[in-house]
Structures are given as structure tokens and as C-alpha cells.
């Protein structure tokens, strides 16, 4: 058995990661904390998309709509008079609604769309951001209209003794960790198996007693709720939202991030979040150094490379490397002693 597969090694990695994540914001500079909080936010958004796209195999181009809807739902509560009067309670209600409102929207869309398949579902989901942006501008009393609205609620409370960026970091990372854990258990349990079978063949799923319709509705609802959480986190780190938050372009970027990170992978969702947040920053650095704006070029090259070389996304990189290494070892063995008896213990 390989050492990196052993249980104790995994425990060590988990503990080290937790400790680093817990201590890092206390020593890192504010910008690093703000960036990591944003990564946590968009990793959650990508995770939601992964539930419906990576695990259940339904292309969704509307994930950003649920992110924006979650942000608006939370903002509406926090900015309302009763929300302000409730203080921390108001923020809790804002969080609950940021999950519930997109959840209901996802359920309704799912009930209508899940009867369709493949491209048809993708088309229905395209409509969401396209309709969402003008709606957000129209209902300016609720949304602040086209110029957006400031929602200053995530300053560090005095008792914490933290800077604002540290507080926002902890809020985002902790909530993101909980959501990741919940989704991890969801996709590994009964529902995860249902997602997988619906993804591979809906007829077989039906024959096994798994309703493709219900499974797809469930996946879309969960994706929308997870997207709503990302919307709440978006508000925590940005303290501002505008119709642009749910723009169609961002939805495509989320899909690209999912593919680059790795569809149907928990780690891939984190990598997707990193990619989504860091790409514009990297492009900025290059443009400052060279004077050329390269974001679209980098994005194009990265997605082509991912599709050709790593169809499983960056998350599949270790697996691909292991496979290549094993193949080389295999060649050497085969070339040396052709009739070597195979060891039944090695797989």
C-alpha cells in the first residue's frame, strides 16, 4: 500500500491544512486574507455548480444567478429596518434567506427544467442570468438599481479583537468548510450514487428504481442553495452588490473554472475557486509588467490545455502523473524480464 493513501497520512494533511488555515490570517497581510476569502466564496459557487454539472451531469449555465439572488436576498434583509433592529439575528436571518430563496428558485426551475435533457436544460439555465440582470435593475427599490448597493455589515465585532479582513476570512472559510463537508457527504452517500447513475444513463437509472427527474430536481435545488451560500459570502467579502454580480459572463467563467478545476471533484471545486479569483489578478500583473492585456488569451489557452491534456481538470493531475509513472515503470519491467511472474498483491 502506498504511504500517501494511508489513513494516518490523510489525517496529518487534514490537521496541517486546518492549522495553517486557522493561523494564516493572523500573520498574512490583509490583501492575502481578502483574496483567500474571495477564493472561499467562489470555491463554494463552483462547488454548487459541480453538484449539478460534475456529479449529476446536467450542464447549468445559470449558477451565477443563484449567487446573485443569494446576495440580494441577504442584502434586502440586512438593509431593511427590521433587519437592522435585529442586529446579529438579522444577519442570521439574512443567511437563512440567502440559502432559502435561491433554493426555492432552484427547485422551481428544476421542476420545470428537469424533464428536459442535455442541451435543452443548458438553454433553460442560460435564461436565468439573462432575465436576472434586468430584473435586478427594474426592482431598484429592493436592489439599489443599476449602480448597486452597499451593504456594510461584515466589520469585525469588537469582542473578536480581529481586523476586518481577518474576520471576513474566518467567516468565509468556516462557512465554506461546512458547505464543503456537507456536499462531500452528500455526493458520497445514497444521493451521490443516484447522481452518478443519472449522469451515466437515465434509462438504467430508471430501471434501477432511481427517478432521473427527482434526482435532477434535487441536484439543481442543492446547487442553487450552495450558490446562495456563495452569494452571502460574496456580500461578506465585497460588502456591495450590483446587477452585474449575476451577469451571464460570470456564469460562463464559473463553468470554465469548474472544468479547469475538475468536474465532479471536491478538490477541483477549490482549484476552480482559486482559478476564478486569481486569473484576473495574474492578468493585471502581466499587463502592468508588459503593457498588454492578456486575460482573454490566458483564459483561452488554459481551457484548451485543460480540455486536451487534463479532461478531468487540474484535480486529476496527481492521478495522471501516477498513471504515467506506472506506465514507464511497467515498460522497464516488461523490457527487462519478459516472463516475470506478476505479484498478485500489487494492483
Amino acid at each position: 500500500m502506498s504511504w500517501y493513501r494511508s489513513a494516518w497520512f490523510r489525517w496529518i494533511v487534514a490537521v496541517v491544512v486546518i492549522v495553517v488555515l486557522a493561523v494564516l490570517p493572523l500573520v498574512a497581510d490583509p490583501f492575502a486574507n481578502q483574496i483567500i476569502a474571495k477564493i472561499a466564496t467562489f470555491a463554494v459557487a463552483v462547488l454548487g455548480l459541480n453538484v449539478v454539472m460534475g456529479y449529476a451531469g446536467q450542464v447549468s449555465l445559470g449558477q451565477i444567478f443563484f449567487v446573485g439572488l443569494g446576495a440580494y436576498a441577504a442584502a434586502a434583509v440586512i438593509l431593511s429596518d427590521w433587519g437592522k433592529a435585529l442586529g446579529f439575528g438579522g444577519i442570521v436571518i439574512a443567511f437563512v434567506l440567502a440559502v432559502a430563496v435561491p433554493g426555492v428558485a432552484g427547485l422551481l426551475v428544476g421542476l420545470a427544467a428537469a424533464r428536459l435533457r442535455g442541451l435543452a436544460i443548458a438553454m433553460v439555465t442560460i435564461a436565468l442570468p439573462l432575465v436576472g440582470v434586468p430584473l435586478a435593475k427594474r426592482f431598484s427599490d429592493l436592489t439599489g438599481g443599476a449602480q448597486g448597493e452597499s451593504v456594510r455589515f461584515s466589520k469585525a465585532p469588537a469582542w473578536s479583537g480581529l481586523y476586518d479582513d481577518q474576520w471576513q476570512y474566518y467567516v468565509c472559510v468556516v462557512i465554506a468548510a461546512v458547505v464543503f463537508a456537507l456536499v462531500f457527504f452528500l455526493v458520497r452517500g445514497k444521493y451521490g450514487r443516484a447522481f452518478a447513475i443519472v449522469k451515466s444513463n437515465e434509462h438504467v437509472a430508471g430501471a434501477m428504481g432511481v427517478s432521473p427527474y427527482r434526482t435532477k430536481v434535487l441536484a439543481m435545488t442543492v446547487a442553487a442553495m450552495v450558490g446562495g451560500v456563495a452569494g452571502f459570502l460574496f456580500l461578506v467579502v465585497n460588502q456591495y452588490t450590483s446587477p452585474d454580480t449575476m451577469g451571464f459572463g460570470h456564469s460562463i467563467e464559473l463553468v470554465i473554472s469548474t472544468i479547469v478545476g475538475g468536474a465532479g471533484s471536491i478538490v477541483g471545486s477549490i482549484i476552480g475557486g482559486v482559478y476564478y479569483v486569481l486569473l484576473p489578478l495574474l492578468a493585471n500583473q502581466i499587463s502592468q509588467a508588459t503593457g498588454y492585456n492578456t486575460q482573454n488569451v490566458i483564459e483561452g489557452v488554459v481551457i484548451l490545455l485543460a480540455l486536451f491534456l487534463l479532461p478531468g481538470g487540474l484535480a486529476s493531475l496527481p492521478r495522471v502523473i501516477r498513471r504515467l509513472a506506472r506506465r514507464r515503470r511497467g515498460h522497464r519491467v516488461a523490457g527487462g524480464t519478459a516472463a516475470a511472474p506478476t505479484n498478485p498483491n500489487t494492483k
Binding site: 493572523l26 497581510d29 456594510r152 460588502q239 452585474d244 502592468q288
Partner: protein
């Protein structure tokens, strides 16, 4: 004592975690972070005895990249030449070079906020000149919290010049209301009957224009608004399809169109369609979508078909034949060519605006007596009666009036086939 193998492993894990935690916690956060009040003489971040770093977050890519790049390039050109001549002599007696750092926000609000946070990490002294209302709004309150100057922003949103709401901000360009009002007044002067159709984007920009325009025509007997339509601006500065609105407005029989549209490709499509359906009213164009080179002289746009194209301006147009003879005109063209990647004469007025903004900044730098952000804001708010080069006669800079952006007046102009010339009435 013998431990089981599992016990030893957990001990080892616990020990290494402890060491790691101690090691990480040992290096405490260095430097000062936002919120700490500095004593009056301690320099703010981003300023040394020899340099000052000024940040610009603006769309450098995407649908508004043309004007966006210009908002940075004017200042880059101006300070490029100033730096090569030695730098700016500040009010505290030191001479500093001005380093401009640009950040691309793609007209996306969340990116603009990230850029602001990166500016703080990069040690930028102050920022501004950037284009866009939502993008500037996205970091307005964060800048106030950090007591960080966000100045001479290129948005007509009056919020930025309201000192109570925006103590660390100042707008550069005239508000939408100011421009709309000037266009309204233009129609009233000739006394002839005018039927006006209004197309406006459904946001603060469009509403501000329409509000100002109606103020301008209030009380006049010769101007009537026959139809008003709005449309939604797509995210990211993309072109909108307003063809159905144009068809409806054409049916109204109006002889004047107030076109409160801020996105360049949308205006180009619109003008093409109007010519193709044979509706060619007088056009009233806002200052940021009136570009001769960027819009009116584009392939397929037959600007000559319209009886008159009017706009407001406070700055000289770089494409005008007399531009090079103006005070500072040739310098502008030379420095833009030398220090930026603009191809030829810049097509958008934002390059000249940015050049004017840079001169206002220079004034403030020369007036600031301490190397602090507070001193900079005080100096910036004390400029009046200043006329930078390339500003039109009848306009000037006054930063001392609360509620007003730095540019305090606009003049109305008519398109003459190549550029714009002053015009007081239609015809």
C-alpha cells in the same frame, strides 16, 4: 514506557502541529493596517521623499476598453513628461516623481474592489480618474473606511462630489444632470417648435440625463417631449439591442432625439439602424458617447445623414483640426504618442479628460504641505479659478463647492463632419 504505534503517531502529529502553529504565530503581522490613526507628520503609504504612487482602476479590456484605456493614458502621458522634466515640486518643498499604476477592472464592480484592495497592498497613495459608476461605487465606502482618496473619478454620479456622503471622494466630469440641462437649454434658444424623443438607459446615468434635460426645457413653450423609452444595459459594457425602441421612437415623428446612452457599440448600432429606416432627427449625444473617431466616423455610420449632432463638452477635441495649435495641444499629442500605446490621435475624449485631471492632481500636489492623504485632500479641495490646458473657454476647475465635481460648467457644441464647434442653438 512503551506507546502503541497509533499512540506514537498521534503524539507526533500533535507535536508537529504545535510546532507549526508556534512558528506561524511567531511572525506577527508587520506594518500598520487600515484603521490606525497616524500622527499628522508621519507620511501616508505610497509617498516617499522622491516618489508618489497614484493608482487607476478602470476598464482596460472589454466593451468599454476604448474610453477606459484613455482614462489612464492621459495621466500617464502628462506625468510621463512631468517626470522626465524632473517631477512635481510639492508644497512641502520636496520634488517627487509621480508613478502611475493601472489596474484593469473590466467594468466589473467586484474586480474594482479587488483592485482597490490590491492598491492598498501595493502601497498606493491615492487613486482615481477611473471610468464607471458601479465600479467606482463598489469601493467608495471601502475607501472611506480606509481614509483613502478616491478622486477625480470619471462618473457623472453626483454622490462622489457630495462631501457628507463621500468625504474622501471627488468627481471630475460634469454630472449627468449638468449635461442634460445644457442640452435642454440648447433647444429652447431658437424658439422654434421641437418634438423630442428620449431614449435612455435604465440606470442612474439615463435618469440623471433625462432629469437634467427636463430641468433645462422647463418653462419653455417650444419644446415638447413626445415619447420616452428606456432599455437595460447588459453587464460588462456589452452592446444592447435597442432596435425595437428606435422603431417606436421613429414612429413618434420627433425631430430631436435625446440619446442618453453610455455604451459606445450600442450607439454605433443605433445610428446605423436610424439611417437604414430613414429616421434622421437632430441628435443630442452625451459627452462620453459623442466621439467622432470612435463612433460618428466609424464604417457604416453615416453621420452626414443627420441634420445636426449636438453634444456638451468641457475639453478640446483631439481630432479637431485646430487642436495642435491650442495651448498644450501639441504636447498632448506628442506625449500620448511617446508614453502610451494609443494608435494615433485618441478617439475618445477621456484621454483629454485624464490629461486635465492630471493637471488638477499636479495643482493639489503642489499645494499639499504634508506627505499625507489628509493634506492631499485638503489641497485638492482648495482649487478654484484654475483653467488647465485643453479646457474650453467658459469652463474651469472649481473644487471648493460641495456637491459639484471639479469641472464646473459645460458648453454645447455641434458636429461639423470632423469634430465639434461651439453652438448655442439648433441649426
Amino acid at each position: 514506557m512503551r506507546m502503541t504505534s497509533t499512540g506514537r503517531r498521534s503524539m507526533a502529529i500533535a507535536a508537529s502541529v504545535g510546532v507549526l502553529a508556534l512558528a506561524l504565530a511567531g511572525c506577527s503581522r508587520g506594518g500598520s493596517t487600515g484603521g490606525e490613526t497616524s500622527t499628522s507628520s508621519a507620511p501616508s503609504p505610497g509617498i516617499t521623499d522622491t516618489t508618489l504612487t497614484f493608482g487607476i482602476t478602470t476598464p482596460l479590456t472589454g466593451g468599454t476598453a476604448g474610453p477606459g484605456n484613455c482614462t489612464a493614458d492621459g495621466a500617464i502621458a502628462y506625468f510621463g513628461a512631468v517626470n522626465d522634466a524632473g517631477g512635481v515640486k510639492f508644497g512641502d518643498g520636496k520634488t517627487r516623481k509621480i508613478e502611475i499604476k493601472t489596474y484593469d477592472d473590466q467594468y466589473v464592480a467586484a474586480n474594482a474592489l479587488t483592485n482597490f484592495q490590491q492598491m492598498q497592498a501595493d502601497g498606493v497613495f491615492a487613486a482615481g480618474l477611473g471610468l464607471g459608476t458601479p465600479t467606482n461605487q463598489a469601493w467608495r465606502e471601502a475607501a472611506i473606511d480606509a481614509q483613502f482618496p478616491q478622486v477625480l473619478v470619471m462618473t457623472g454620479d453626483p454622490t462622489f462630489s457630495d462631501q457628507t456622503k463621500s468625504p474622501w471622494q471627488l468627481g471630475l466630469v460634469p454630472t449627468y444632470q449638468m449635461e442634460g440641462e445644457a442640452l435642454g437649454k440648447l433647444l429652447t434658444t431658437d424658439g422654434k417648435p421641437h418634438k423630442v424623443a428620449i431614449l435612455s438607459q435604465n440606470d442612474d446615468y439615463g435618469k440623471g440625463y433625462v432629469e437634467g434635460f427636463k430641468d433645462g426645457i422647463a418653462g419653455s413653450s417650444n419644446v415638447t417631449v413626445v415619447q420616452e423609452l428606456t432599455y437595460e444595459v447588459p453587464a460588462g459594457g456589452a452592446a444592447a439591442d435597442v432596435s425595437s425602441q428606435i422603431t417606436q421612437l421613429a414612429a413618434s415623428g420627433a425631430d430631436v432625439l435625446l440619446n442618453a446612452v453610455s455604451i459606445t457599440p450600442t450607439v454605433i448600432n443605433e445610428l446605423k439602424q436610424m439611417v437604414s429606416i430613414g429616421w434622421t432627427p437632430n441628435l443630442l449625444l452625451p459627452s462620453n458617447t459623442n466621439s467622432p473617431g470612435g463612433i460618428l466616423l466609424q464604417d457604416g455610420v453615416n453621420a452626414a445623414a443627420f441634420p445636426g449632432i449636438y453634444t456638451t463638452a468641457f475639453s478640446a477635441a483631439a481630432a479637431s483640426p485646430t487642436f495642435a495649435t491650442l495651448d498644450g495641444g501639441q504636447d498632448f499629442l506628442d506625449d500620448i504618442a511617446k508614453y502610451t500605446k494609443q494608435q494615433g490621435v485618441p478617439a475618445f475624449p477621456h484621454c483629454v479628460w485624464s490629461w486635465i485631471g492630471a493637471q488638477i492632481l499636479e495643482q493639489a500636489f503642489e499645494k499639499m504641505t504634508e506627505p499625507t492623504r489628509e493634506s492631499f485632500m485638503t489641497a485638492l479641495r482648495s482649487i478654484s479659478g484654475f483653467t488647465p490646458t485643453l479646457m474650453l473657454e467658459g469652463t474651469s476647475i472649481d473644487t471648493t463647492t460641495d456637491g459639484h465635481p471639479a469641472v464646473n460648467a459645460v458648453v454645447t457644441q455641434k458636429f461639423n463632419g470632423k469634430g465639434y464647434a461651439d453652438a448655442d442653438s439648433l441649426g
